[in-house]
């Protein structure tokens, strides 16, 4: 009796397997996109927003009919792991994504230290790696499978500082403050050069550890330099707000800059009216005539999911998914190396509009997304766009 049942079951299973093999080539397949992002700790919201945007871009692509490669239709699925914004966890995440899950495409990674840990494995194992990490040390011909999907200090600093000098011609001196990690250190080097190039003398350059809760002592030191400008480089928004608040309490008045400042809400929430006048180079404005319906809706969705407006770092994850789709369709392949070879030639619609990849003059190879630098300023508690500087390379291609 039991033997008979077993035989029937075996026959049924064999029939199912045979049917699956004979299914049409148009059946949809899933490509997993790995994400190495902070999902706990102080940067958790950046990670949560990034994951939400990856899923949102994947959903849009699925709605539009998926990715069509050689008659097959593929869709994306985002797989996120918490890198806790540090190298040790970044290594663990790299192992889990690449060796355990067998992922061939990193849809996005965040934080220079964990990204370096992931890159050491992804390049060796032939995995295509899209990242928002700012460090220029992760790019170059040595890393052909790594692509940066947001503006970094190299793209932002020169146009931003040029604009600030243009509208504040009287500035002569600057004091710099950056977080003491890979992102902060690389930002500082670029900022120093850019200020010197416009004739502004760097009076001091200080470091603080992420997680610092009291900024009064460093604010006192910065105020004592009597610098015309305070540039907080890669300092996160809420820390920036606290520094400006303390500077205001001491009586310092001058030009306030957060070069790679990504979110105005944090600066305003922490700094109050001391945040007024702050120039930022990586913030995104979601109000005004220049904002499209799609951008507004995307931000509303993000805000509902994470409790605050989306920022440029998170938006990189959205653009990454769109760029990967364009590259796979151009290459007509889902092999990471073939897709990487196609990425320098793709044209796709990013969150900011038509985009592509460039940066050969700066990095030695085409690895940098080309999106405009949006110079913003906080005015009366609101973020406003004061200038949009198109990428010269992108302009030349038009």
């Amino acid at each position: 009796m039991f033997k008979k049942r077993r035989i029937y079951k075996l026959c049924a299973s064999a029939a199912l397997v045979a049917c699956a093999g004979a299914m049409p080539a148009t059946a949809q397949e899933i490509i997993k996109l790995g994400l190495s992002i902070p999902l706990s700790g102080a940067a958790a919201n950046w990670g949560k927003g990034s994951e939400w945007l990856c899923n949102e871009a994947a959903r849009e692509i699925a709605q539009e009919g998926g990715i069509k490669v050689k008659g097959k239709v593929y869709n994306y699925s985002c797989v996120a792991y918490d890198n806790k914004y540090n190298a040790a966890e970044g290594t663990r995440v790299a192992q889990a994504l690449l060796n355990r899950d067998g992922i061939k495409f990193i849809g996005g990674s965040l934080g220079t230290a964990p990204v370096k840990a992931l890159q050491s494995l992804s390049e060796r194992e032939g995995v295509l790696h899209m990242t928002t990490a700012w460090g220029s040390s992760i790019k170059g011909p040595k890393f052909p499978l790594t692509f940066t999907i947001m503006n970094t200090p190299n793209e932002i600093t020169v146009p931003l500082i040029g604009y600030i000098k243009e509208v504040n011609p009287g500035i002569r001196t600057v004091a710099l403050l950056n977080p003491n990690d890979a992102s902060g250190q690389e930002t500082e080097v670029v900022a120093r050069k850019a200020w010197a190039a416009v004739g502004v003398n760097v009076l001091s350059s200080d470091w603080y550890d992420r997680g610092t809760t009291e900024f009064q002592p460093i604010a006192s030191k910065i105020a004592a330099t009597k610098a015309d400008v305070v540039d907080l480089g890669g300092t996160p928004p809420s820390d920036s707000g606290l520094v400006f608040k303390e500077l205001q309490a001491i009586g310092w008045k001058g030009v306030k800059v957060v070069e790679v400042g990504t979110g105005a809400e944090g600066v305003i929430a922490a700094g109050g009216n001391a945040a007024d006048g702050v120039y930022m180079g990586a913030a995104v404005v979601f109000e005004g005539a220049q904002v499209t319906d799609k951008q507004r809706k995307l931000n509303e969705g993000g805000k509902a999911a994470i409790g605050e407006s989306l920022n440029a770092v998170q938006l990189g994850f959205y653009d990454s998914v769109k760029a990967l789709k364009a590259a796979m369709e151009l290459a007509q392949s889902v092999e990471p190396k073939a897709v990487a070879a196609a990425l320098p030639n793709v044209k796709f619609n990013s969150f900011y509009g038509p985009s592509g990849f460039g940066g050969k003059d700066t990095y030695g190879s085409v690895q940098q997304i080309l999106v405009p630098v949006i110079v913003t300023q906080i005015k009366s508690g609101k973020l406003t766009e004061v200038r949009r500087i198109e990428s010269a390379e992108m302009k030349a291609r038009k």
Binding site: S238, L242, G272
Partner: protein
């Protein structure tokens, strides 16, 4: 001279919060001989509730000061209740067990941090200023808000010191921290005292959180940053010593203030860790710790 005065006032402001925080840590160690790594989470819960409830009360027609007082009350009471619950179902079984309490409190940190992130979200929260403007005392600039909250913190520390040194409850607690078996032989109810001590320690952490909320940005991980400083303060001062916790906290605040001004915050942090190593080498039980 003016710079020196500014740095001292800054250190006192920073130190007043550290003192309240580390008093809780040292009290728990004194009575139960355990280190509660989840102490920062009670501090965070109180600050998060203040940051979430002040706008809510303000939106319902209460003035900012009244809204803050209500929110601070709710924050402190909720934190203390959570502390009591955790004691009854957790720490009660790990008294005088350093390894067991370490594992339990580390697990609680992860659990509570995850819960805060889930329920309060990861976005930074702030509390509207209770009082506006700056004051200038002998050429030293500071915000009225910091001055007010610093004074409240100093008064709370003074009150706690008085309770521990002059009341029956305080004396019983000190007796337990010196020798709990001898204290029990004298009729001091150790179990009840341990429970009350844990609740008082949680209360101190929660008060520190509520006081910090209007002058900082509140995130679900705020407590972890303060835990490191608070723990260093009690190590320097001597685990279980109340005056030691005060001295240790002021030491750290001084280094942060002076080191942050003459060098930078990173160097100041490094100096704090070097100081701990030196203290542990010279006086392994801390400056005022007993063997």
């Amino acid at each position: 001279m003016q710079t020196a005065l500014q740095l001292i006032v800054t250190a006192l402001q920073i130190g007043s919060i550290y003192i309240l925080f580390s008093l809780g840590l040292t009290l728990i160690f004194g009575v139960m001989k355990i280190v509660n790594f989840a102490h920062g989470q009670f501090f965070t819960l109180s600050a998060l509730l203040v940051a979430a409830l002040v706008p809510w009360f303000a939106a319902h027609g209460y003035g900012v000061t009244l809204a803050y007082l209500f929110a601070a009350g709710i924050g402190v009471v909720t934190s203390v209740l959570l502390g009591m619950l955790i004691y009854q179902f957790g720490f009660r079984f790990f008294q005088r067990d350093l390894a067991g309490s370490f594992i339990l409190s580390t697990g609680l940190v992860l659990l509570l941090e995850g819960a805060f992130l889930h329920y309060f979200g990861g976005a930074v929260r702030t509390v509207p200023p209770l009082v506006s403007g700056n004051v200038n005392i002998f050429g030293v600039n500071l915000t009225s808000q910091r001055l007010l909250l610093g004074l409240v913190a100093i008064m709370a520390t003074g009150a706690m010191y008085w309770v521990l040194s002059a009341t029956r409850f305080g004396k019983a607690m000190r007796a337990v921290s010196i020798d709990h078996e001898a204290a029990m032989l004298q009729g001091i109810p150790y179990k009840r005292l341990a429970f009350q001590g844990f609740a008082v320690a949680t209360f101190l952490g929660a008060v520190a959180g509520a006081l910090l909320a209007p002058i900082s940005v509140i995130t679900p991980v705020l407590g972890s940053d303060y835990l490191v400083k608070g723990f260093i303060a009690v190590i320097i001062g001597g685990l279980g010593s109340v005056p030691g916790a005060i001295i240790g906290s002021l030491f750290i605040a001084m280094i942060e203030s002076i080191g942050g001004f003459y060098f930078d915050p990173s160097v100041a942090n490094l100096a704090i860790f070097v100081l701990v190593m030196v203290v542990l080498l010279v006086k392994p039980n801390g400056l005022l710790g007993s063997r």
